[in-house]
């Protein structure tokens, strides 16, 4: 049936005309209609445009034409500007913003024939690990603990993307990852996610959180689907000065390379004291799978790992405080007027930003302010150099690293800690790769004792996403993760 399709198998079926794009899109639109009232994974749905596009895709497919993603229904994280379609960053401050331009990543997907079903929910301005900071309400993880109907978080910030893919509402979704925002929700929702090398996907038209860290990437049911999407999303873009001019390889072809003779590093610092036993066990299982497939396992040390999170928060929040200064109620977005310009700014930003965003802007402003810059921002950027060196040194010995993706499985909405630092700890394993700029993937590898998914993370060398696809695919095959969440389009309610 339709909801058994992966992106790759749907692509093949479309080409063979076993299914039409119109049927594929309609079926997914119906599922959204059916399930998303509850999941809340979409902020804006675009069914009419999607149906139009599906018809056009069928015309092309009938002629044997159409790009690599022709007719494939996707969801777009609402952080990517989409021309003529409201783009909110899940913030009140942009709730009515309709960009007159298209992000490079979504333009690339469109060029290859992908069809957007709408804009997906996220943490406000991608700031969060729970998707509970969205101004449009939280997202419900389609997974349930055994015997419990408690609403679980999908992770964040690409929580809408992860939930929509996991529930079968789309065949793939775009995400962005600043400190783990693709990998952690992928892990929480039992799907695959790829954070490419910094500079691999253009940032043009993607609403910035922390410019030196933000990377777009694919989220899908498995790594093959991610590979197909990434090949379309990635590429040099002259409009982004940090985009790197490097040819995009055939990622899908890398999937079956295997790991024979490859060296996989196990960073000892990731084995923290409070790492839950079942996550440690899953990690060991992953090590065994790669070893069985012919990889050599090497213990490595990334000595500055424990400083990753504080470094990340200083760097990311400093940049964010500056990046979000443009939301001032003057040229676009929400305006709350006042008797003076400053009063307008203060009222607009007070009303427009949510609590977490304000907290982060304030912190970012503080760490850059006079008298604190050296102690916080400059120091963090130096530690960041050390963190990057850790990786580069490890890569002298190994081809990639294997770690858990997150220190826990999905937790319930009401279990979200009130202490922000405790929430930040969700990203402890994902943040170092972001700081270093290296690529990383998360693949679902098992379930925890309550029945929610857990992911494993592979971290690679600069621009060596191919190795991650190859090794990740070995993990996927070994894990043969075929569980489905409770809330799924293919399950009749």
């Amino acid at each position: 049936m339709v909801f058994d399709y992966t992106l790759a198998s749907a692509r093949d079926a479309l080409r063979k005309r076993e299914i039409s794009a119109v049927e594929l899109v309609n079926t997914h639109l119906e599922a959204i209609e059916r399930l998303d009232g509850r999941l809340n994974s979409f902020i804006t749905r675009t069914p009419d445009q999607a149906r139009e596009a599906a018809k056009a895709a069928d015309d092309l497919l009938a002629k044997g034409e159409g790009g690599a993603l022709c007719g494939i229904p996707l969801g777009i994280k609402d952080l990517f500007a989409t021309e003529g379609v409201r783009t909110t960053a899940a913030s009140h401050i942009l709730e009515n913003f309709v960009p007159p331009y298209e992000s490079t990543v979504t333009a690339n997907l469109k060029r290859d024939g992908a069809i957007s079903l709408g804009k997906l929910n996220l943490d406000e301005f991608a700031m969060g690990s729970t998707n509970l900071t969205s101004a449009f309400g939280g997202v419900e993880n389609p997974w349930k603990r055994q015997g419990s109907d408690a609403r679980l978080v999908p992770g964040g910030s690409s929580g809408g993307s992860a939930a929509a893919v996991a529930a079968g509402l789309v065949l793939g979704a775009t995400g962005t990852d600043t400190g783990g925002s693709i990998r952690q929700p992928a892990s929480f929702c039992g799907i695959a996610g790829v954070k490419p090398t910094y500079g691999r996907c253009s940032r043009f038209g993607t609403i910035a959180f922390a410019s030196s860290l933000d990377q777009a990437g694919p989220m899908a049911k498995n790594l093959r689907d991610c590979a197909i999407m990434l090949e379309s999303m990635a590429g040099f873009d002259a409009k982004d000065s940090t985009s790197v001019d490097k040819a995009v390889p055939n990622y899908e072809a890398a999937l079956d390379r295997g790991v024979k003779g490859m060296r996989v590093g196990i960073p000892k610092e990731y084995r923290t004291d409070n790492l839950p036993e079942e996550i440690a066990a899953l990690w060991d299982q992953g090590i065994a799978w790669l070893k069985d497939a012919g990889a050599e396992i090497v213990d490595v040390s990334l000595p500055h790992t424990k400083y990753g999170l504080p470094t990340y928060y200083i760097a990311a929040l400093a940049e964010a405080s500056s990046n979000l200064a443009r939301y001032d109620g003057v040229r676009y977005g929400k305006r709350v007027t006042g008797p003076s310009l400053d009063a307008l700014y203060e009222a607009t930003r007070a009303a427009g930003f949510g609590d977490e965003v304000k907290r982060r802007i304030l912190l970012g402003t503080h760490v850059l302010s006079s008298g604190y810059y050296d102690a916080y921002y400059l120091r963090a950027q130096k530690v960041r150099t050390l963190l990057q060196r850790d990786f580069l040194q490890a890569y002298e010995k190994v081809d990639m690293l294997l770690t858990p993706t997150a220190p826990s499985g999905a937790f319930a909405w009401d279990e979200k800690p009130t202490d922000p630092v405790q929430v930040y700890l969700n990203d402890v394993f994902t943040v170092p790769a972001s700081l270093a700029g290296v690529p990383a993937v998360s693949v679902p590898a098992g379930l925890d004792s309550t029945g929610v998914p857990l992911g494993l993370q592979l971290i690679g060398r600069f621009f060596d996403e191919e190795t991650l696809f190859a090794a990740g695919h070995v993990l996927e095959k070994s894990a043969s993760f075929s569980h489905r969440p409770t809330l799924h389009a293919g399950v009749s309610a």
Binding site: A208, D328, L368, Y373
Partner: protein, 486 residues
Amino acid sequence: MSSYRITGETGEWEIVVGMEVHAQVVSQSKLFSGAATEYGGEPNTQVSLVDAGFPGMLPVLNKECVAQAIRTGLGLRAQVNKYSRFDRKNYFYADLPTGYQISQFEHPIIGEGKVEIELSEGEKRIIGVTRLHLEQDAGKSIHDQDPTRSFIDLNRAGVALMEIVSEPDIRSPEEAGAYLRKLRQILRYLGTCDGNMEEGSMRADVNVSVRPVGEEGYRTRCEIKNLNSVRYVMQAIEVEAERQITIWEEGGTVDQETRLFDHVKGETRTMRSKDDAHDYRYFPDPDLLPLELEQSWIDELKAALPELPEDKRARLEKDYGVSQYESGVLTAEQSVADFYEEVARGADARLATNWMLGDFFAALNRTGRSIEDSPVSAQGLRELLGLISDSTINGKIAKEVLEDMVETGDSASAIVDRKGLRQVTDSSAIEATVQGILDANADKVAEYKSGKDKLFGFFVGQTMKAMKGKANPAMVNDVLKKLLSA
């Protein structure tokens, strides 16, 4: 050393001035976007979404703007830094769309350099340049169109500026004026800034402090922002220095602050205090990677650099034998120097210099024209001077011809032919005329012969008048001498 002094109640004071000049870079498009830099478009038409700070928009550096900064650095005999970086200067303002200005704070593209200025007595001084960096201009706020609102036009937003910071080496309003004019001259020669102060292409922030003569170290300074003429710069320094001296002498202290110059009232005043606004939270712009320059590119730009004013002066003095004063006037504007050389190259250099600085400039003044739209071309003027040199006309007639050229645009030779102004060099014709004059003035001839030498000029004048000024003056002299001594 200039010795500008202000006499206060308690004694003599000197002033210490440093300047930050914002010079708009000559380029087609903006520093980080592809929108046009042209002046005077309709509001918000020369704006890209990058300039307007739309979400997800990113800056991409303009190569020509970098080249212009390097050229300027070379022209200021300054250090070109192979590593530089762009930083964000964070503050909120209505015409600053992103909430930060992209500038170069820690690592400017150009380091230390120097500018030689010349004062009225011909005295020269070196003013140190601390640095030059590239940054974006902001948009424009218009405050006088509505009683309760300001209007925002982003056409200027993102245009490239060079901020040129001087050392606090300036010691008088005259030096400040000379520095600004010299900087303007160098930039115009280099073609890196059009120097048009009325249109805001060059604006100066002036840092002023005062100290009793003989005191070491600096006292608190005030920054007077956004002065857009040499005259205002000089006036602002003068009145600000006096204000500060009064404060010090009355036992007060000068607060470090930003002030505005009110040229109508002739005073400076505090800018409406922005209490917390002065924490710019500079940090490297993560959207832009460090700028690393290849030496070969710098060399290339250096090799193609136009001749600078100092070099041109020295050469004009050497090649055309002009005086120091004359070379200064002739090279003030590159266009004048070019015009001059075009004339002087094919003419008698002395004649060319005298005519340029004399009758030709006078004609420009009279007609309110500049050298760029001169009614007489360099070739035209050269032809006129040629007619003098080859004795076709004399100098006096030449003045008349020049006036005709200015009026009609005709060439010198056409005018000479049209008006029949060709000089008479036929000695018998001159002799006949002179003889007639002498015959008609027998009494004056007698006086002359009895020793009243001055009458010689009278006979010359009468002869010229009779010959409608066309006689060759040397021949008239010769003939007169011959016949009078007969």
